[in-house]
C-alpha cells in the first residue's frame, strides 16, 4: 500500500450496528485519490445510482484523502458523497477540520454508512471499533448542541459530525455539520436523517507515514508562506462577504429571486457596514494558515458570514436588514440547512406569492421577520414549510402556473450567488454541472472575471476555459485542498503532483493528474447516467433564457446560445450519447 493511505474503507451497516474494513485496491486510490473522487467510485461500486437516496440501502460516504494529516496547509478536509435527495443525482459536499483528521486516524480512507438504525442513534467509531448508541435524547437538538452534548458524554477527544432538526425532518437540503462548518449542498443531512443517524462520533490513533517526509515538510513550509501572500489577502482580511459589493457593481448580484442583478440595499450587507456596528473575530479550519472565517458578533454569540449566505438570505429575498440576515444565517446553521437552497426556495415562494400563484400573503420580499419565520417552518416542516422543505423544483411542480420557469435551480439544486445572464461562462458551468447549479465544482466565474471572455456575450471559446475550471475543481476536491488556496499556485498540476509524490511515493506527473481530474469528472457523469440523467437536464430555467436583466439589457442569454455552449461542452468532453462516460 502506498504511503499516505490505509488502503481500506470502513463499511458500517447501521441496521445491525456493525462495521467491517474493506480493502481498497492501490490502482483505485491512484485513479480516484480521495475526497470526491474516491467517494463517487465507492458509490458506483455499491450500485448507489439506482437507489432511492433516502432508502436504507442508499450508501453515504465520508471520504478523506492522502493529504489529510499531513502538514500541508488547508488539507484537513473530507467529502460527504451520496445520491442527493434534492436532485436525485450525484452529490458531493466538502467540509473541514478535526473530523477529517480523526476519521482517517480510525485506520481508513473513507467511511461508508448503509442501513437504517432501529432508533435515532449516534455511530461511535473508537479507533476502528464501531458501535451504535441511542441519540433519542438529542432529538431536535441543533448541530452545535449535539456536538457539545456528545463530547461531554463520550470524551472531549471525539470529533463529531451531526445533523440538526432539518436533517431529522428530511428537509431535502439539510446539511451535515462539524465544528460549525457544513457539508452544505444537496441534502446529505437528509440522507443521514433517513438512516436515523443523528451523529457520527469518532477518534483514533492510527496514522499513515509519508514517503518523503523531509521534502514534504519543505513543500508545506513554502505553501504556508505563500498562503500569507497577496493571493489569499481577500480571504484573510475580508472573507468572501466582500464579493457582495463587487457583484452588485457588475450587475451580477441575484436579487429578489433573480428578478434583478443589483440590490439597492447591498451596502448595508457589506463587510464595511457589518463591522461598523459589530465586533468581528477570525477563525480557521484545523491545519489552515489562511483563516478565511469572519465571525461577526450577534446577540451573545457570533455568526460566520459568507457571501453565499448574505446573498441567499439577503438580496435574493430582498432583505437589507443586516441583523435579520445574520440571524437567518445563524438559524440555518443551527437547524442544519443549506443557506443557498433555503434562501433560493424562500425567494422563489415570495415571487410566487407576488404573482398570485401561492396563497401565503405574509410571505413577501423584504422582511427579516418573514424570512426567519419561513426558515423555522422549513426546519420543522410545518405549514408551507413542508412544501418549501422539498426545494424549489418540487415546490414549483406542486404550485403549478408554469412556476418552474422561475424556480432558481438546475437539476433541482438552487443557483448560488452568480447571476447567469451577467456571468455567462458560469451559466454554462451551472447548466452542465453534475451536481446541479454549482460554483464549487465549476469555477467558471473566474473566466467571466478575466479578459478571456466577454462575460455578457460568451462564445464557444469560453467552453474550454469552463472545462479547465471543472477539471481543476475535481482534482482539488479529491486531493483535497481548499479552493481558497488556488491563487498561490504557479503551476497547479505540477505542484499537486509534487505533493502527491512526497506523500504517497508514487511517481505521479502533472499529466497523470490532468487525466485523473478528467476521470473523476467522468465518474460523476457516469453516476448521473446510471441514475437516469437526460440531456434535457443540462439547461437553465426559462427566466434566464427569455428575459434580459432589467438593469442591464446587455446581459441577455437565449436558449440557442446556451444550447450551443452545452453541445460544445459535451463535444469537447467526448460525450457522444447516453452511455459514454468511462
Amino acid at each position: 500500500m502506498p504511503f499516505g493511505y490505509h488502503g481500506r474503507y470502513l463499511r458500517i451497516d447501521v441496521s445491525r450496528g456493525v462495521g467491517e474494513y474493506v480493502p481498497l485496491d492501490e490502482m483505485v486510490l491512484r485513479q480516484y485519490l480521495g475526497g470526491s473522487g474516491l467517494g463517487v467510485r465507492l458509490l458506483l461500486d455499491e450500485g448507489a445510482p439506482g437507489f432511492d437516496p433516502l432508502s436504507p440501502e442508499a450508501p453515504i460516504v465520508f471520504a478523506f484523502s492522502p493529504l489529510v494529516g499531513s502538514p500541508l496547509t488547508t488539507s484537513a478536509k473530507f467529502a460527504v458523497v451520496s445520491k442527493s435527495p434534492l436532485t436525485e443525482r450525484i452529490n458531493d459536499s466538502l467540509a473541514s477540520s478535526g473530523f477529517a483528521v480523526a476519521g482517517k486516524r480510525c485506520g481508513c480512507d473513507a467511511l461508508m454508512i448503509v442501513g437504517r438504525a432501529p432508533e435515532l442513534s449516534v455511530v461511535i467509531i473508537d479507533d476502528g471499533d464501531v458501535r451504535l448508541e441511542s441519540a433519542v435524547e438529542h432529538r431536535g437538538a441543533t448541530c452545535r448542541e449535539t456536538e457539545s452534548a456528545l463530547r461531554s458524554r463520550l470524551g472531549a477527544n471525539f470529533r463529531i459530525a451531526s445533523i440538526g432538526p432539518a436533517g431529522e425532518n428530511l428537509v431535502r437540503y439539510a446539511t451535515v455539520s462539524h465544528d460549525g462548518r457544513h457539508a452544505g449542498r444537496g441534502g446529505s443531512g437528509a440522507v443521514l436523517g433517513s438512516k436515523d443517524i443523528k451523529a457520527i462520533a469518532l477518534r483514533g490513533t492510527q496514522t499513515t507515514e509519508w514517503a518523503h517526509p523531509r521534502e514534504l515538510t519543505e513543500l508545506s513550509r513554502s505553501l504556508s508562506k505563500r498562503s500569507f501572500g497577496p493571493a489569499t489577502a481577500k480571504y484573510r482580511e475580508l472573507g468572501t462577504a466582500t464579493n457582495l459589493l463587487t457583484f452588485n457593481r457588475f450587475g451580477a448580484l441575484p436579487t429578489r429571486n433573480f428578478q434583478s442583478g443589483s440590490f439597492e440595499e447591498a451596502a448595508s450587507l457589506s463587510p464595511e457596514q457589518l463591522t461598523a456596528t459589530r465586533s468581528k473575530t477570525r477563525d480557521s479550519c484545523v491545519a489552515c494558515t489562511i483563516g478565511c472565517e469572519h465571525i461577526y458578533s450577534l446577540g451573545d454569540g457570533g455568526v460566520r458570514v459568507e457571501y453565499e449566505s448574505l446573498f441567499a438570505l439577503g438580496s435574493l429575498c430582498g432583505v437589507g436588514d443586516a441583523d435579520a440576515v445574520l440571524r437567518a444565517s445563524k438559524r440555518c446553521d443551527e437547524l442544519g440547512l443549506d443557506t443557498i437552497s433555503a434562501g433560493g426556495t424562500i425567494a422563489f415562494a415570495m415571487e410566487c406569492v407576488e404573482r398570485g400563484w401561492l396563497d401565503e400573503a405574509w410571505l413577501r420580499f423584504g422582511s427579516g421577520d418573514v424570512l426567519l419565520r419561513a426558515i423555522e417552518l422549513i426546519g420543522s416542516r410545518e405549514g408551507i414549510g413542508n412544501l418549501l422543505a422539498e426545494g424549489s423544483r418540487r415546490a414549483a411542480y406542486a404550485i403549478g402556473h408554469g412556476s418552474i420557469a422561475i424556480a432558481p435551480q438546475v437539476k433541482g439544486l438552487e443557483i448560488p450567488g452568480y447571476e447567469p445572464r451577467a456571468l455567462q461562462t458560469m451559466a454554462l458551468g451551472f447548466a452542465v454541472g453534475a451536481r446541479g447549479a454549482d460554483h464549487n465544482r465549476s469555477g467558471a466565474y473566474e473566466v467571466d472575471f478575466s479578459d478571456k471572455v466577454d462575460r455578457r456575450h460568451v462564445t464557444l471559446d469560453a467552453v474550454r476555459h469552463a472545462i479547465e475550471t471543472e477539471d481543476k475543481a475535481a482534482l482539488m476536491d479529491s486531493l483535497i485542498m481548499c479552493k481558497f488556496l488556488r491563487g498561490v499556485f504557479t503551476d497547479f498540476y505540477a505542484e499537486s503532483a509534487e505533493m502527491l509524490r512526497d506523500v504517497t511515493g508514487w511517481d505521479v506527473s502533472a499529466d497523470e493528474l490532468r487525466e485523473t481530474a478528467r476521470r473523476i469528472v467522468s465518474a460523476r457523469r457516469q453516476f448521473n447516467l446510471l441514475a437516469g440523467w437526460t440531456p434535457a437536464e443540462d439547461t437553465l430555467p426559462e427566466r434566464f433564457l427569455n428575459t434580459p436583466l432589467p438593469n442591464d439589457p446587455a446581459a441577455s442569454l437565449n436558449r440557442e446560445r446556451l444550447d450551443d455552449l452545452v453541445a460544445e461542452y459535451h463535444r469537447q468532453r467526448g460525450h457522444s450519447g447516453a452511455h459514454d462516460a468511462e
Partner: protein, 88 residues
C-alpha cells in the same frame, strides 16, 4: 476619469473611489501610484508599461477586463479595480 475600488484594493486605497486625469490605463496606474502610495506595491513595471499586480484586476466601465497599459481611457470612463479572485 474615475477609479472605483472593491475588496482588498479598497482596503489598501482607503477610499471607494477617486478622480484622476489619464488618457491610458498605464497613465492612470502611474497617477494612482503617485496619489495613493499604499497601492504602490500593487503596481509594477516601468515607464509606460505599468501593470497591476496579478492579485488585482481592472475592468473598464464594468464591461470588459483590461490589462494593456495602452488601453485608451476617456473622460467619462470608470476603471474598476478589484481582487483577481472575484468569486469563491
Amino acid at each position: 476619469m474615475q477609479v472605483e475600488f472593491f475588496g482588498v484594493p479598497r482596503e489598501r486605497a482607503g477610499v471607494s473611489e477617486l478622480e484622476l486625469q489619464a488618457d491610458t490605463l498605464g497613465q492612470m496606474l502611474n497617477a494612482l501610484a503617485a496619489k495613493v502610495p499604499s497601492l504602490g506595491p500593487f503596481i509594477g513595471g516601468e515607464g509606460r508599461d505599468l501593470r497591476l499586480h496579478s492579485s488585482f484586476i481592472a475592468s473598464l466601465n464594468g464591461d470588459r477586463f483590461v490589462s494593456d497599459p495602452g488601453t485608451p481611457l476617456g473622460q467619462n470612463d470608470r476603471v474598476l479595480i478589484l481582487s483577481a479572485d472575484a468569486g469563491g
